[in-house]
């Protein structure tokens, strides 16, 4: 074994001590904002995949297959490096000059990626509700859009809280990938501490503890939500 002097003090000494916490704040921001995008788009695409009108179903399927079969890192790089170029020569330079571009791109990319997974869960939720309710609601005179908005979506969302919890946890884990485009979140900070102090082992261990605590908080939060919105008479814990 290399003679390695452990220095756990990096975790609370200044300035490195604060870095991890600043990183945590960014992790939370990115995760939460991306989750909003993921939920919105996910519900949209999950619904598209479930309607009777087949062109919309195909559209939804294509979206899901593309975003599921390409690694997130590759998607992130695509949006960050190639994305601005899609807007044409003049806009491209303006976009690249934006400060905090990596932050916005990370949120959008993460949201898009996670939306495809949320969409699959939403689709499964609709499938488990079954046709009976579909027909019953339509026969009261509602349009399909109203039916989905007022009945099916709220119902499906309650059913799929457990898989959604997993996706919420995954979004925080995937937020770490944003470090590759320079976003100063938790994992980025632990690497930075290593660059400055050569004590990356302690820093990454500290970062692991942060993610664990974050994960447990998310699970508790979702449990509270699940209890609050539970459908009486249906599967209780």
């Amino acid at each position: 074994m290399l003679a390695y002097k452990f220095d756990w003090g990096v975790l609370w000494r200044q300035p490195s001590g604060e870095w991890l916490l600043q990183g945590l704040w960014l992790t939370i921001q990115i995760g939460a904002l991306a989750w909003v995008i993921a939920l919105t788009l996910g519900i949209l695409f999950g619904t598209l995949r479930s309607v009777r009108f087949w062109p919309l179903r195909i559209l939804g399927s294509v979206y899901v297959e593309v975003f599921r079969n390409v690694p997130f890192l590759v998607q992130l790089f695509f949006w960050f490096y190639a994305g601005p170029m899609l807007f044409g020569k003049t806009l491209q330079f303006k976009i690249n000059a934006l400060s905090g571009l990596n932050y916005y791109v990370a949120i959008v990319a993460l949201g898009l990626y996670t939306a495809s997974r949320v969409g699959e869960h939403v689709r499964a939720g609709f499938a488990s509700i079954g046709h009976g309710q579909y027909d019953a609601v339509l026969s009261t005179g509602m349009t399909p859009v109203q039916m989905y908005w007022h009945v099916m979506i709220p119902h499906a969302l309650r059913l799929i809280i457990p898989p959604l919890t997993t996706e919420f946890l995954t979004i925080f884990k995937n937020s770490a990938v944003a470090m590759t485009i320079g976003v100063a979140e938790t994992t980025f900070m632990s690497y930075k501490i290593d660059e400055q102090t050569f004590h990356g082992l302690e820093a990454t261990t500290g970062a692991m503890a942060i993610y664990l605590v974050l994960g447990m908080t998310v699970v508790k939060l979702m449990n509270v939500i699940e209890a609050r919105f539970q459908i009486p008479g249906l599967m209780s814990r």
């Binding site: 390409v70 790089f77 695509f78 190639a82 770490a176 994992t187 082992l201 993610y211």
Partner: protein, 218 residues
């Protein structure tokens, strides 16, 4: 239109080969370790069950990137010299993916009736023999679709070895991009490459799911 890609094709595909190699190691090691993890998760001996459960729950809650970094920092200390990024990455993947494969195997083991295990024991087979000849082969066949799906995810995850400088395809793409600045072409190419392989993989998994649903043999 795809000139940057075509000019650098051998370089880029060489990187992709690294992803494939890394995936092969990750899958071989991950599947093997995964069967042990799965067995540990159904063990009645607390000194086996609790450490394994702790290990699984720990690794499933932290980002893979962080695990890759952690091993990158730990291994030189343990081994006493700097590590080849490929080896460090392979170890990280094996340890990480084993938790996911482990949970899949666990589901497979739990689907085997207790009496089948009793039947094996009643002919005098030891725990090790029962696990090796009965539990693992049956669980593997039953969970094949999930195992394939997880393998596809593992293959995608190899792109993350980028962060420790491994010369795999994403890193090589960024290197070419910094010279040629043909970002749209280059990153689309990588995306399409992964897309084709992963889509093929998921079709294979669906095929096996259909087959086992129809046969209902196991």
């Amino acid at each position: 239109m795809f000139d940057a890609v075509l000019q650098n094709l051998p370089y880029l595909l060489g990187g992709f080969l690294t992803n494939v190699q890394l995936a092969v190691f990750a899958l071989a090691g991950g599947l093997f370790l995964g069967t042990l993890v799965g067995l540990g998760r159904i063990s009645k001996r607390p000194w086996v069950y609790h450490p394994v459960t702790l290990y699984v729950n720990l690794l499933r809650n932290i980002p893979l990137i962080l695990v890759i970094f952690w091993f990158y920092f730990v291994m030189p200390i343990l081994v006493g010299r700097t590590m080849d990024p490929f080896v460090s990455a392979a170890v990280s993947f094996i340890v990480f993916e084993a938790t996911y494969f482990g949970e899949i195997f666990r589901a497979g083991f739990q689907s085997i009736s207790k009496d089948l295990v009793s039947a094996a024991y009643s002919t005098g087979l030891t725990y090790r023999q029962t696990a090796a000849y009965i539990l693992v082969p049956i669980a593997f066949r039953r969970m094949l679709p999930s195992l394939i799906t997880q393998s596809i995810i593992t293959f995608q995850d190899t792109s993350l070895a980028y962060v420790i400088g491994l010369q795999e395809i994403v890193r090589r793409t960024t290197i070419v991009d910094s010279m040629e600045v043909r970002s749209i072409q280059l990153y689309s190419f990588v995306a399409v490459l992964f897309f084709i392989i992963c889509l093929a993989g998921s079709r294979i998994s669906l095929h096996y799911e259909e087959k086992s649903r129809k046969a209902k043999v196991l």
